[in-house]
């Protein structure tokens, strides 16, 4: 079963944001012990911050570290910097961190397409920032998994 976990809070930097989301995924038995380390290493090399219009980062790592597919979203009260995917030397303010624990199967193609299409939509981004936590869970679930 695919799950979405939502956390509201703050992180001092992108490493801590990845730590918070990885911890949650690990607590639910979705990822291996070294998932966090693997995500960090990957983020250092290939950052996942998106753009100014889309203040989102999508850290993730290889499928070997994933036991059960799940997504952990950290909604930050205060934006933090991530390096940009399209230009790693630049940074971008991020309010939403989507830590993606995905397996490489056919289904995940659909999930990824839905997530990216959702994030490219400015109205959707506004909703993601404004909805209550419980609404946000349902909203994301409907958009990504159904």
């Amino acid at each position: 079963m695919d799950q979405i976990y939502i956390i509201e809070g703050n992180a001092k930097d992108w490493r801590e944001a990845i730590w918070i989301t990885s911890e949650e995924l690990q607590r639910h038995g979705c990822v291996t012990d070294d998932f966090y380390y693997s995500c960090i290493k990957r983020e250092e090399e290939f950052p996942t911050g998106l753009t100014e219009n889309c203040p989102v980062a999508i850290p993730h790592t290889t499928k070997e570290k994933v036991k059960k597919q799940a997504i952990c979203v950290l909604r930050l009260q205060k934006a933090i910097k991530f390096h940009r995917m399209d230009d790693p030397e630049q940074e971008v303010d991020v309010n939403l961190v989507f830590n993606l624990a995905l397996k490489d199967n056919h289904q995940h193609v659909t999930f990824i397409a839905r997530i990216i299409n959702l994030l490219k939509n400015p109205d959707a981004i506004r909703q993601l920032k404004e909805l209550s936590a419980s609404q946000l869970t349902e909203h994301l679930y409907n958009h990504i998994f159904l």
């Binding site: 290939f46 219009n53 790592t61 290889t62 995917m85 995905l102 397409a113």
Partner: protein, 100 residues
Amino acid sequence: MRELKVLVACGGGIVTSTYVSSEIEEIARKVNVKAHVTKTQLMNLPSVAKDYDVVFVASKYHEEIGVPVYSATGVVTGINEDEERENIKKVLIELSQKQD
């Protein structure tokens, strides 16, 4: 018409390359170009690119690998997306015509 061999690369070869691959398959279908799309990690490009007709990357990439490399980052980020999609279409059509 021979099938075009297209390689898509991103950092880890998981999320963005998956998305870009399915988008390129869709574009190829729309313009009637037969394309087989494979995804990989950026670090593998120098060793595997020679087996492909064209490479699309979802990140900055400046290495010379003997195969044309184009950006598809905008397809993911939405920045310059329309231009990039047009370019992908153009590249696929040109390459397929060259091979006839």
